[in-house]
Symmetry: D2
Subunit: 337 residues, 4 copies
């Protein structure tokens, strides 16, 4: 941590602050210039809150030097984390493909799609039972009934299921019934939910919030990991920018950034990022090329009748073609499908 | 609702879509040009999901014409809503001033500040008991103990208390103990929490999310109101932009926008928006000048020792001076303090 | 300047870098911890390019400590700059009001509006002769003819004229004919134009770019000032964010920020920021309350027939009422109209 | 074009507006509901300025239906444009690789790099002679001398040269000496410069502005094309968002968007987008996978000594390895290197 002091700070003030800081167990090295006074802090600065230092009247600015996350930090865990989901691995050489509809709509629908995407190469089934909708008047998902239908589709297709949790009330149930528990973008900083998920052992798919920095995403992963659950899979799904042509802006540079900063696996959701069917194909290819560990893609047998997110859903035959095309890209970057 | 069709749509396709739409109870008026086909929909379009229409292959774009919120809409409720909090009004002629520390730290601290800000003009006491912190290693608030201390400070000062809720588990408790229940920016789209808050009667202070549009803020208010609780107070607290000098960018144009679109009262939080003590004074004045119904300001007796958000807290004497200065501004825009 | 070195840097590498840096005339103080090595640089760091340091393989990050602008910096010029325009002052106690149409359209139009706004209180006349339009097919302004009409309106009304320059070719002409030369948001980093404007003596109204940080705005002012022209007036006119209800997001916190960082006067343009007529009134009041030195407002006698920006133009009678209302606000913050 | 009228508009007002619009040569079809009145406009709406309509008091909103660009529009030019640069094609099956240093620094430097990148596969040489720098105190490029050195490097390596223009004064010179004239992000809406470039025939590399929408980028291309120069190559180089880990956020979804909307070729600049050397490799691969027609990459023989942008420059050996790795990606998407 580096503390920049204001120009007219007196020596007495510097000594006072230094003493306070050293009482917290760090070593303070001052750098004193004519127009500039810097305090360099070495040692364990994790117990020092930068905002508390910044509240001091003699302090101009406090600069972080080390990342504030630990368990998620590659520095302390150099090898990649590989998450095991019912025997399948996410984060290893093999690309994980999660496919399925935005919402579970009926037994026929989810079972049909599950069987189709399984046959065409998908390794995991996605489907929303509890849906976070901007409008209270929109379809909110089949909720617990949807979860039951997902379990039936899992039984028939053999695919592990991925679905979103919205309430801490459901953690116990999801821990029992779901294979990967998804935390949606809107709940990335629902810290109460994250804490509950830290207490269980199920893999968590943590989506980046619409305006969350990469560091904040990793801090939210840290919440889950600090609680004891280290099975965290990150997901880039587009950030909010000024551009309105796409629903959000898919930030593919986040993938190499996360890979450098953290050991956790990271997947990409091109469907929610763009909101446009014709973009799924090129952006899925780009996601694999940039180094993502997997994709989560919306597939629907009849997008025009989908109860939600139809414009961004592709049909099973398009999914099948994409899956095949991705093989060459995966191979080109040393991965396999 | 206006539906733009793709250029090469056939007449048969137009008829098919028109029939489907009219089955949902709207009247469809086609506008057919050589390079352009538009369907204008009149009647109750609230049961038609634009994304479902957009999923149709012949549809280029769907455009909203009416706002998607109803209970929050000024169109259907032209007069201002005035929320009653223990006999004090928010949304009327009098500006509501909510003041207090970021966090409740001790009985002495919260009682001292409560008495100070009461004496200097504040009408409500704020103080965080449950704190949403980016880092799991930061101080998380005194939680239930903090709530008890707030109640003591209320008893001593007579000020109604405003504090943030983070979990649906706490709704019953907050409904009993708290005068205004705050929903923080990170939870603005925690729809499960909003639904629970719709079932009670206590005033809700709903903060705009960091990347929420004004429409999304109003849709979140709609969630609470649709459940039956119409005591919603909105709060502009800064949005996330590319500018890094301030913590966030306070969007004061949101105030006249909300006033035009909705009848709900709206207050401004200059402390969280800017993160900088010296900005509280000018932005509080601007907020009143632009038409806000109130302010929520962080005041701490010893900001350098504050357990959180010290850099943006002002001292009681600064608060007192600001309160006095605001009188002339309030008067200039036909309000009173 | 503070240089953070990578964890595994050897002592030999530290010495090599230190020697190189000291050869540039600064003193380097190292702070060496187990997981952290920092070099604090004191002395004149203005000749050291941070990006050049950052390119070094042993460097993790370079952090600025001092602002990179000098002539625009309040640190070296504590008192406010007051710009003199034909005897009127901008940046002093009196609020400067610049009013007029988006475009000069005809002699009648500009003369009529000039006389009206003069009568109602404006101190300066704005009007576009050269118009930066997103589309090549939109009206591009009357160009040199427009400039002649502005001069006629000045002669008749006595108001100094403010108009936008788009090409370095026109600098000489504008220096002769125009009283305040406006640099539009799109040209804020047209450095060739800025350099030319640094060579003359006319006041420059420099608008903040749509995605320019406050620091970048001040660096663009620095370009003009470094050339020798210190008559720079800054203008906040909205930044581009995700919010689409308003055309841009007016960043009023930029005003106290600029006032703290710089001694230059700063005015606010609520018309371009919002694009909406009904917002001019509240945001003008907020701008004065927050500490702006003036306003630039679009006024048109017949907005529905305006050749550009009609939706954000107010009529003379609305301008007159606003001017009166602003007096109380100005007084409340120790200014006058 | 679709015009939404306000709720209480009278029939007489509708007729008045309709008549005015029809006088401009369009056909107006009204859609009248109880709470909604829409005018659908068919015919040539290019002469109708939406903002002028929106200024009308009875108008709620005006919605575009057709893209405002024509010459750049794929609708009117379905096949891809292929730009010929000294016999090499950009926009065809072969991926164009433009490589070289940020700045031309000396004859040795530019010639050495030119020969290296040529040998390793590059088809074009980039190098800045006129540099747009945020600070007036930073190195501004070798200017005309730099241009002469580029010509020497071209003579020795045989690579066509790409360099940035900053002033309309230099258009004639660049048209004679340069093979692809680059318009930088900061000048994307320097319309005077664009107009001058529309009068010549040289290929123009037009970079997307930091906060420009895809539509605005295409409108700037339209400026050049409307003037008669249809040799426009677009360039995505990152947009400004709230994320600070990367210098900008590379918007790879812009590539399929541009390919759908326009027939112009589009290349990607991963160096400026990210500002980080380690990201060039993965993002170059992603750019080819997503469908870009080429890359523009900063290569420097000694990045630590580079006069600008060292942290984002890669060395020739890294460039050589990347070039080889890109072959498999290009092949996977039906392209060649």
């Amino acid at each position: 941590m580096v503390i920049i002091l204001k120009a007219k700070t007196t020596q007495a003030e510097v000594i006072k602050l230094t003493t306070e800081l050293e009482a917290k167990g760090v070593i303070v090295s001052p750098v004193i210039g004519t127009e500039l006074m810097i305090l360099g802090l070495v040692g364990d600065t994790s117990r020092i809150d930068p905002l508390q230092i910044e509240a001091n009247n003699i302090v101009e600015k406090v600069m972080h030097v080390q990342e504030p996350f630990k368990k998620a930090n590659r520095l302390f865990h150099p090898e990649n984390t590989i998450v095991d989901v019912c025997g399948q691995k996410i984060g290893g050489k093999k690309i994980a493909i999660i496919a399925g509809p935005c919402s579970v709509e009926s037994e026929d629908q989810i079972t049909l799609i599950a069987n189709e995407v399984k046959k065409l190469g998908a390794g995991f089934l996605r489907g929303g039972a509890f849906k976070p909708r901007t409008s209270p008047y929109s379809f909110q998902g089949l909720e617990h009934d949807g979860l039951e239908l997902l379990k039936k589709a899992r039984a028939k297709s053999g695919l592990p299921i991925v679905t979103e949790i919205m309430s801490p009330y459901d953690v116990e149930l999801f821990a029992k019934d779901v294979d990967i528990i998804q935390v949606g973008a809107r709940n990335m900083q629902n810290f109460d939910l994250l804490k509950e998920l830290g207490k269980i052992n199920k893999p968590i798919l943590l989506k980046r919030g619409l305006s969350a920095t990469i560091e904040e995403l990793l801090m939210s992963a840290e919440y889950i990991m600090a609680g004891g659950n280290e099975n965290v899979i990150l997901c880039e799904r587009g950030i909010r920018t000024f551009e309105t042509y796409t629903r959000n802006t898919l930030d593919l540079s986040a993938i190499p950034a996360i890979k450098k900063l953290s050991h956790l696996p990271v997947v990409v959701d091109p469907s929610h990022a763009t909101g446009k069917r014709f973009m799924i194909d090129p952006l899925s290819k780009a996601a694999i090329a940039v180094g993502a560990d997997g994709l989560i893609i919306e597939v629907h047998n009849d997008p025009e009748k989908a109860l939600c997110d139809g414009p961004q859903s592709i049909k099973p035959d398009q999914f099948g073609k994409l899956f095949k095309d991705l093989k060459a890209i995966a191979e080109a970057v040393g991965r396999e499908m």
